[in-house]
Amino acid sequence: MKRIEIKKLKVSSQGKEILKGVDLSLGKGEVQALLGPNASGKSTLAQVIMGSSKYKVTGGEIIFNGKKITRLSPGKRAKMGLALAWQNPPAIKGVKLGSLIEKISEKKIEKSDSSSDLAERDVNVDFSGGEKKISEMLQIVSLKPKLVVFDEIDSGLDMKKTKTVAEEIKKELVEKGVSVLLITHSGEIMNFLEPAMTNVMVAGKIICSQKDFKKVLRTIKRCGYEKCKKC
């Protein structure tokens, strides 16, 4: 049984179709990547997998651990083991990151923990780009998920920090059997996490799925996404 199966998923927002029949599946403990140009629908797919209220599913279905979840609330999906690390998480004034983590995981952040300073601050309020990534990672790990979608976790990070984040994902999630879908624009993080399958999304459709991520990266680097479409 696959961890997640997305079948012919069609999604619209404000009357505009964004996803035009997406098929994607991930096995248990598998790492896959989803590449694509800006506005191709990658982040929409991530949000729809989690049940965002912003989008309307007009066709197809999402099956998680053998159960249809297409109509479930985000809270129920999270309880089942789905998690999303946001690219641009919203600020929540007055709610300390530490208390949010305690609430969602019933786990206290130790004072000696290097993230304890961040835990004392309001969630995503005046966080730098790097701090947002740390905050998302802390929350994700504390949820003990079965599948995590990382939406551009590597955006704005230099090579060294990308490597650190990738190592953390490997240690805390992949090695523990968690399935990971990496959504990435640049693809840098793939060099450290070596996905088993790399999917390319253009204009709301997955146009290519390749096992050799290096080949995909080379093609995109050389010819861009438009050429990739014709490949």
């Binding site: 989690m50 965002s52 209220s53 609330s73 985000p74 809270g75 999906r77 004034k93 007055g94 949820l143």
Partner: protein, 305 residues
């Protein structure tokens, strides 16, 4: 009771259940104070029927406590409260007004708090009412020279009708922070607060945080008036919460007012009404919270920030 290590006043319906004075703190029923101390009559607007008179004459190292509750059905309280803190004393007070029933109670309170020169008061006032109650507190604070007031009014659960008036007069170099917080569902609330900066170098801050949930109609007028060289700031923040499908939309009106009658006064204000965004809700729900848990977390964050 003079040597007791606390001082408190506890009234249920119209009956005083407990009245405890301490060394340096005299507490009387208001009608008794009216009779016993003729000088108090200039502060009471009329002869009080019920309520407390607290007279702090010496420094104490414990907080003063007042609790006024409604327990019986259809009880109509009409309190006349007076508190006088003598010069140079530094006092804290916890006041609670609540209902312990599910009927229609009425709680009217007219209070005056006098802080003499260099006196300081930290006052936490909590209101917690039933859905059918009608509540009307009116408090005047008179601050003498260099007096200091930190007043925090928090309404945890709103009545059907709420009319709150708070007014602070500040003399020379007096300082005041007025923090009013209310979380309203199905409450029709009229809130008025005013700082009168009368003395030179006085300063004051009003912080108003209001949440309007389903069926609430909240109107708040906050004013700072400068009559001398002084500093005042007004911060009004509101949060509208969308009701569940088919529920009555809340209404929230915030009116900040600044009135300056001295060219050297500095008055500033900020006001905003926000709405819980679907993005914030989605974010928290994707962390495993239900919609209600997510809304409550955002509201608590807003009220406590």
């Amino acid at each position: 009771m003079k040597s007791a290590k606390n001082a408190s006043y506890w009234q249920v319906d119209h009956k005083v259940k407990n009245l405890l004075s301490a060394k340096g703190v005299e507490i009387f029923k208001s009608p008794e104070a009216w009779e016993k101390f003729s000088w108090t009559r200039k502060y009471f607007t009329s002869k009080p029927k019920e309520g407390y008179f607290i007279w702090v004459q010496k420094q104490v190292d414990f907080p003063l406590v007042s609790c006024v509750s409604i327990m019986g059905k259809n009880v109509k309280q009409e309190l006349g409260n007076l508190m006088v803190v003598e010069s140079g004393l530094n006092i804290s007070m916890h006041g609670t007004c609540n209902s312990l029933h599910f009927g229609c109670g009425q709680h009217k309170a007219k209070g005056k708090i006098i802080l003499k020169d260099k006196a300081s008061l930290k006052y936490e006032h909590i209101h917690n009412w039933g859905k059918k109650d009608s509540v009307q507190p009116e408090y005047d604070f008179i601050l003498g020279k260099e007096a200091k007031l930190e007043y925090s009014y928090k309404m945890i659960s709103g009545p059907e009708k709420l009319k709150v008036k708070t007014r602070v007069e500040l003399a020379q170099k007096a300082v005041c922070t007025l923090k009013l917080v209310a979380d309203c569902s199905f409450t029709k609330a009229e809130i008025e607060d005013e700082l009168l900066l009368q003395g030179r170098n006085s300063s004051g801050l009003i912080e108003l945080k209001l949440v309007a949930r389903e069926g609430a109609e909240v109107s708040a007028v906050s004013a700072v008036s400068a009559l001398a060289e002084c500093k005042g700031h007004l911060d009004c923040q509101g949060l509208l919460v969308d009701p569940a499908m088919g529920g009555r939309q809340p209404i929230l009106n915030l009116v900040p007012k600044l009135a300056c009658k001295n060219s050297k006064a500095q008055l500033t204000h900020e006001a905003a009404i926000g709405r819980i965004s679907s993005e914030q809700l989605d974010y928290l729900m994707m962390r495993g919270l239900s919609e209600k848990e997510a809304v409550d977390l955002i509201i608590n964050g807003f009220l406590n920030s």
